[in-house]
Symmetry: C2
Subunit: 323 residues, 2 copies
């Protein structure tokens, strides 16, 4: 830990907070300065994350002078208010996905961040993985021709008993809020902004447990399947005019990149393995942004988050009734 | 060729007729008895297909006593009238996909075939390939758990100059009619009937050159990407609760089946290579149906064709305007 270590604060003490705290500890040039919880038994959970400071209110952390950037790891429906609080205090903010519950809220946060000159980013962590960055470079360099279709399939089994928040409509439950950011972020990263979207679900409960989102982009189409009902292989396929890329995971980590060439019909395998959980790449990228004084990430820009918020809002509306 | 060889007639002389004539020649127990064209220069094209008889009208072939089954290889918009003609004459009919231009027309053909006791089938040839049959068996035996999502991606480059019919709205042009039957047939074969569908396209011309169809089935969801603008790898991925199957083609033949197990994270490769074009499996299946006196194929039943016709009609309507 150097004198230039970025000092992180975390709002919240749940699963996301634990994952981020571990990533901050393992990332270069990072320090977990503070965690804020709303007191009671959560104080013990805060302490277990190992920060230098504990705060019993989000306001206290937002006001602290010892913090360079706040990671918001509270339930989905609280993101907007919590991000607002920190940005108002002039803090840089990294917010768990989805950034907000609506496009309008996302727009307000972005405008506020810009007016404050504060860094703001949605924590779509797969964007920063080596294999994912490599796939975007291959596309940008024209290695597989023009991209035409991106298909992402993400299934993570989250049992209602163990994860009640994910199934609670009042906390922004449902698969679209929980997992929908992933396929959208992959598709937008390759194909550019979503111009229109449609979504369907088999809709078996109060909230959607699976969904299929399809999007029109300027250059082509994308499709995203998400499910909470089983543990899938999870993969991203980028279909292009001269080839095809497949991002294959080992337990969600996307370490393997298959590169198929339409010219010779051959497929090669690139290994982009890493030792950690994968979140450390995002933390180190944010450290760099903060160090450089950037107010926006070049890898996860705010225009993408605004576009994703609109697509998620639309897909949620469409999946609240059967197709 | 035995005395029990099934005697085929073909209506039409275009690309589909040439493909089917070659398949009839290479399939077991088959004979190309007759080809019907509408006279003029097409008589030479008919003769080139090598049948025993030539007819200058579709009516003459439909009335022939030497024919066991008629393959309808005329443009999409003619399928309904041509199939009607043959079924009225009591002939068994195999019809190029899409069976008709609407669900209502498909329903009329099916009712007529049933009232005549005649065999009727839509020529969705990939259904009969060994690797495809094997994938359905694996799903039915529960080898990969419950299917949740089927994603098919089919891109076949058909240049407007060389294939004007495919881009002619008056001949049922557009990618949905040309290729849409493939993803629907794969999805329905695994997930059961389509209960609702949505479709999008980047819609660059008079007819859609690409499309993305998404469907709700009882058990899950499916997605089908199709494009006429480039030659893709083409693949089918079946995502299930305990594993995943990938049908990979060599030039559309789907000879390779990848079986991934969610239990051990391992993938094995099954080779289902064959020497021919692949159409011969469909021809031999129809020969068997005719020999057995079946009025419907167990592998490509009429309920599936009716369901596909409805989904295609709906997707065509949705893609006639931007998403």
């Amino acid at each position: 830990m150097t004198e230039h270590a970025t000092r992180w604060g975390i709002l919240g003490t749940g699963n996301a907070a634990r994952t981020i705290a571990a990533a901050i500890r393992s990332a270069r040039d990072s320090m977990l300065q503070a965690v804020a919880s709303r007191g009671g038994h959560r104080r013990e959970q805060s302490r277990a994350l190992g920060p230098r400071e504990l705060h019993d209110s989000y306001e206290a952390l937002a006001a602290s002078d010892n913090i360079d950037v706040v990671h918001i790891a509270t339930p989905h429906t609280a993101h907007f208010q919590n991000a607002l609080l920190c940005l108002e205090a002039g803090k840089s903010v990294v917010c768990e996905k989805p950034l907000t519950m609506s496009r309008s809220e996302a727009e307000q946060l972005i405008l506020l961040a810009r007016s404050k000159g504060a860094f703001l980013m949605e924590a779509v962590w797969p964007r920063f993985l080596p294999a994912v960055i490599r796939s975007r470079e291959l596309v940008e360099h024209g290695s597989i021709g023009r991209p035409q279709f991106v298909n992402t399939s993400i299934a993570i089994h989250l049992d209602p008993a163990a994860h009640p928040r994910v199934y609670d409509p009042s906390l922004g439950g449902g698969v679209i809020n929980e997992l929908g950011s992933y396929p959208l972020a992959f598709a937008i990263g390759i194909m550019g902004p979503v111009l229109g979207s449609k979504a369907i679900s088999t809709q078996s409960g109060l909230v959607s447990e699976n969904c299929l989102m399809q999007c029109v982009h300027q250059a082509g189409l994308s499709s995203g399947f998400c499910s909470l009902k089983f543990q899938g292989r999870n993969q991203v396929v980028i279909v292009a005019s001269d080839g095809q890329l497949t991002l294959l995971p080992a337990s969600g980590k996307f370490e393997t990149l298959l590169i198929w060439s339409g010219n010779n019909g051959k497929e090669i395998t690139e290994d982009h393995a890493y030792a950690g959980t994968g979140y450390e790449f995002m933390i180190e990228h944010v450290n760099e942004c903060i160090r450089e004084g950037w107010n926006e990430s070049p890898l996860m820009p705010l225009a993408d988050s605004l576009n994703m918020a609109g697509a998620l809002e639309s897909c949620n509306q469409q999946c609240s009734m059967p197709a």
